[in-house]
Symmetry: C2
Subunit: 417 residues, 2 copies
């Protein structure tokens, strides 16, 4: 089992940073923002909680999670909620609970296929439609599932990412509805990873809207409130049967979720004004920076679907292949790392073929080195005017123009407009 | 996948408690003691830590864990330590990492075989020697592994529990050495679950002493410091290869361990005086109460190996079969639960055959209902004199004498001696 590409990149970055190297780190989506003080206070207040508590999570947490989803158009009973130490273990346990082959989108988050493999399941990669990352093309999904079944395979679920990582796009409501219809026709469980649901700059519709009887939704506080290191995820289960199965697996694999973190999460998921304000500020910051960085990639001639969510971009350097002297996204990111100290992830980490020149950039670590800088970024009327953010974007511009021999003046014409 | 028997019992108890029932709860080993204040302070001080950090755990935590093991006769490099959200996920990931069939002791902790099943592996139950729970009888282990291999099976690992849950006993050093020799001869990885290592009342020797090249040791703070709900476990890996494989799986299944908890654990594993003092007090408390409860079972005529560790007893009601009117440990615990409100776990939960009348009792929830009572129990010169503890033991005595028609005076002659 290979190490998660994103976590490996995080550790490599930390190593280079400690070695005193200057690295422009755009490789992973860990959110470089401080903990909301009121959220930290809730963790502190619950520090004495040392009991396991229910496997599915405390009553208080499940109630808050039910409210969170209900306010987003997905009416939820607290009994339908299962909590875990991150959405990652929840997604893995869901694969074990559903069984059978798993359809995953391409491009795809780094861990779905690896998790399927660990669960002893086959994964079936199905490309997404252009500009609609995260949702396997429903037409192709149907064809591939029927084909697999004709050959004796047993596809039982399809994973979707809404909004999408790695592309920063959102599948259209029509596409999501089509997917839901195909899933119903073929009796597939939809596992909808909605960890970025609060970082969308355009409307998102969950497949649970169209196929509530078969859609599991997962999310957490890692992206909207920047507490990935606290490890908490929640799942919304469509049936008693699947929930019971998930809880059984959870009880054998992880017992329960860190109790003080559950208490803090219950507070956050109830969405008091200061939480809403913080999530709104984070979303604005991500949007402003990610759109600016998108402009840099577009200006040097990379192809890029308009960013609609998250802190990710997924440019394709195919139009620039001739002038780059590289044959793969691995070579391209290697070149950017060793020659320029710019860390990005190659498309191969997301299931792209070797030859593709797609790469993923994340802006979530550009907001500052210190809590003071990061807090300033959150409240800045225009974060792009902050010297540490503009310096990173200038450096990226310089690197990409040098790499592609673009005239820098051409690029600057696109920026700060 | 069935729910963990212990966690199911915890939840059932909570349900009955909330419904106002009086239940004498001896079913599970959640440690009913408060968090050491200095440990809680460390969690509080680290509440702002929100980054994932390394998959294997922070450098600080791994250094402390290495010291912890080194002080126990197992020299450890921090690089050999991998942290996870509990020893449960670590044990599961280790099974995935090693692969092949897994030999488990009988009686056995409730989750080993379930985890093997989830990992798609066969488990091979091998009985322990009388009075030496947790270590499959090495002679029988050898026979069964050779037999399995002759039939095309692929046993690759053996799990041991030292000290043992459910029996509260400790395998003799000679038995552990024999096991290590058989494991070496047959090239098996030894997975040594030592979560109770600080709650031993007799010497314990880890198989890592005899077979350091093939023994993984796991432990955590759940039992010695009563923070099961915080979710942190550590593993000590014997080879780079297995460690790399474990970290790869961890990166795909859980990413990292709650960062503020890691900080608190680093403090605890460094074992400053107040931590040693607390662990010592807990051990004394468990020992005093568990030995007294053992006497109750012995007095009514159940068979019981001398308790040497943990808060568990594993009495066998076989000598009393005639007067009980039950045919299985399930019926026996059912009877005790419904007629008397005493919650215990049947031997079937630990891999015993249906007909066996072995049951497991845990004393870890007898120390009080409130933090004040529990703190008083920790410092009491004789905890048996505390009214809430003596009331529980009196009630158990009353129930067992009634159940078995023993003269209560006979029982009392054995007690408080």
């Amino acid at each position: 089992m290979k190490m998660s590409a994103t976590l490996a990149a995080d550790q490599e970055f930390e190593r280079r940073r400690l070695a005193g190297e200057q690295v422009l780190f755009l490789a992973t989506g860990e959110i470089g923002l401080p903990v909301l003080p009121e959220l930290r206070e809730r963790l502190i207040a619950a520090a004495g909680r040392n009991a396991y508590g229910p496997v599915a999570g405390s009553a208080e947490l499940r109630l808050a999670a039910a409210g969170y989803w209900s306010r987003r158009g997905l009416p939820t009973d607290p009994a339908d909620v299962v909590c875990g130490p991150g959405t990652k273990p929840l997604l893995f346990a869901l694969m074990l609970a559903v069984g059978g082959d798993v359809v995953v989108p391409v491009p795809t988050w780094v861990s779905y296929a690896a998790q399927a493999q660990l669960a002893g399941l086959q994964s079936i990669p199905v490309r997404t439609r252009p500009g609609e990352g995260g949702v396997p093309d429903p037409t192709e999904l149907r064809r591939r599932v029927l084909n697999a079944r004709a050959k004796g395979g047993n596809p039982r679920s399809v994973v979707v990412t809404l909004p999408d990582n790695p592309t920063g796009t959102i599948a259209k409501p029509e596409t999501v509805r089509e997917l839901a219809e195909v899933a119903r026709e073929l009796d597939l469980v939809i596992i909808s990873d909605e960890i970025y649901c609060d970082l969308a700059y355009a409307p998102t519709v969950s497949p649970a809207t169209y196929a509530p009887e078969r859609t599991v939704v997962t999310t957490g506080l890692t992206k909207n409130l920047a507490v990935g290191g606290w490890r908490l995820g929640i799942a919304r289960l469509p049936t008693d049967e699947l929930r019971t199965r998930l809880i059984g697996i959870a009880s054998q694999v992880w017992s329960s979720t860190t109790a003080p973190v559950q208490a803090a999460a219950a507070y956050a998921l109830a969405e008091p004004p200061e939480v809403i304000e913080r999530v709104t500020a984070s979303r604005r910051l991500h949007e402003r920076v990610v759109r600016e960085v998108a402009t840099v990639f577009t200006a040097i001639g990379a192809e890029l679907a308009p960013v609609q969510a998250t802190c990710y971009l997924y440019p394709d350097f195919e139009p620039l292949r001739g002038q780059l002297g590289v044959n793969s996204s691995d070579e391209l990111t290697q070149l950017l790392s060793t020659r320029y100290g710019v860390a990005l992830l190659p498309g191969t980490a997301f299931g792209e073929p070797q030859r593709s020149l797609r790469i993923r950039a994340a802006t979530s670590r550009l907001y500052g080195e210190t809590d003071a800088e990061r807090s300033a970024a959150l409240i800045a009327p225009d974060p792009l005017t902050l010297p540490w953010i503009s310096a990173s974007i200038d450096r990226l511009t310089e690197v990409l123009t040098h790499l592609t021999n673009t005239k820098e003046s051409n690029v600057h014409r696109h920026l700060r407009s």
